[in-house]
């Protein structure tokens, strides 16, 4: 998975989101050690200080656990990961509803669309 950045927001926030997504998708499984700051920074083509800030946020969110000796690992607390996944899912739904409302559809229209889409599959 490549790192992508948009112009309108701070880079560290976008890094935090993309790292979070990697954890939620299991690309960095629970308990696994995360690559070192410098390595991640080089992968993403960003400044190590920026990556450091993104990882600090990941720790603040409880998704990563820092240790002085062993580097940073992904949390083993499945509850935290699940909660983060749900938050992400709700945000995706909210985004979808926002787009539909801009097109003039109501939330009940949205439900119909979802049902139709599921039947279609």
């Amino acid at each position: 998975m490549d790192w992508k950045f948009t112009d309108d927001r701070p880079i560290w926030q976008q890094l935090t989101e993309q790292l979070t997504l990697r954890i939620l998708k299991g690309q960095y499984p629970p308990g696994e050690r995360l690559p070192a700051v410098r390595e991640l920074a080089a992968q993403a083509g960003v400044n190590p200080n920026t990556m450091q800030r993104a990882l600090a946020q990941l720790e603040a969110d409880g998704l990563a656990v820092g240790s002085r000796t062993a580097g940073r690992t992904v949390t083993q607390d499945h509850g935290v990961i699940e909660a983060a996944a749900k938050a992400r899912a709700r945000a995706a739904v909210a985004d979808c509803l926002r787009v539909l409302s801009e097109l003039g559809y109501t939330p009940s229209d949205a439900l119909v669309f979802v049902k139709e889409e599921l039947e279609h599959e």
């Binding site: 112009d7 309108d8 880079i11 560290w12 083509g45 190590p48 200080n49 920026t50 800030r53």
Partner: protein, 241 residues
């Protein structure tokens, strides 16, 4: 150890009739990657040359690691000029010997490793190298020093986009962590994610000095977009373009 690595106070540089820098006040911390941004002729190269002692300021003072520019500051500054200054009959390895002689902090092994990853053959003569390869060799020599301040004047101007990514990566992975990198460029979008902070130079004055993410947070746009805005407005005021 001084808190600020670089302090410029009321720095002015005049060349006979032309003023290149006007009252520049600038402080740079340690462990930062700083972009020195400005259109052509805004004073970027002049500022860098004053920091490394190649030019004397007309007025004002510069301190690097608490010392005025001199033999000590030169020993902790690694400078990449905007043009090649080596004899072209030399091989890259000859240059490495030269640098190992001159600078106690030059790491020959590191230089050779960087050559390998950049695809440069160090036993080739400079004369036989392409412009991009010469730039790579120069960059290798500069980054293979464990300096406190790296001054890179347009390090990515002459190379293709693939090499540009490679060079930025080389800078990112090789700079000394307590060291600061000051790099001048007008190709902002390519390097924006690499920078901690930016200094905008306009007509010889610092018009903005802020963190990249603070700018994005405050303005809701990239540094590149902000740069284009500021300097486009300037062109229209001048009306000459």
């Amino acid at each position: 150890m001084n808190e600020q690595l670089v302090t410029c106070t009321a720095l002015t540089k005049r060349y006979s009739s032309k003023t290149a820098l006007t009252g520049v006040n600038l402080e740079l911390g340690r462990g930062r990657i700083v972009g020195l941004l400005g259109p052509n002729g805004s004073g970027k190269t002049t500022l860098i040359k004053i920091l490394c002692g190649l030019l004397q300021p007309t007025e004002g003072a510069v301190l690097v690691d608490g010392s005025p520019v001199g033999p000590y500051t030169k020993s902790i500054i690694s400078y990449l000029p905007d043009r090649m200054y080596f004899a072209d009959w030399m091989k890259a390895t000859d240059l490495f010997d030269l640098f190992a002689d001159f600078y106690a902090d030059f790491d020959r092994t590191k230089a050779l490793n960087m050559c390998a990853s950049l695809g440069v053959t160090p036993s080739d003569r400079i004369k036989s190298m392409s412009k991009g390869t010469k730039e790579k060799v120069q960059l290798v020599m500069v980054m293979a020093r464990k300096a406190q301040l790296y001054l890179l004047d347009e390090p990515i101007a002459g190379v293709d986009p693939a090499a540009r990514d490679f060079i930025l990566n080389t800078i990112l992975t090789n700079y000394n962590e307590e060291g600061t990198v000051l790099l001048s460029t007008h190709l902002i979008s390519d390097i924006e994610t690499v920078l901690d902070e930016v200094v905008f130079l306009k007509d010889g004055s610092v018009t903005l000095h802020d963190g990249v993410d603070s700018i994005r947070e405050r303005e809701g746009k990239s540094v590149d977009a902000l740069f284009r805005e500021i300097f486009r407005a300037h062109n229209m005021e001048g009306g000459a373009f």
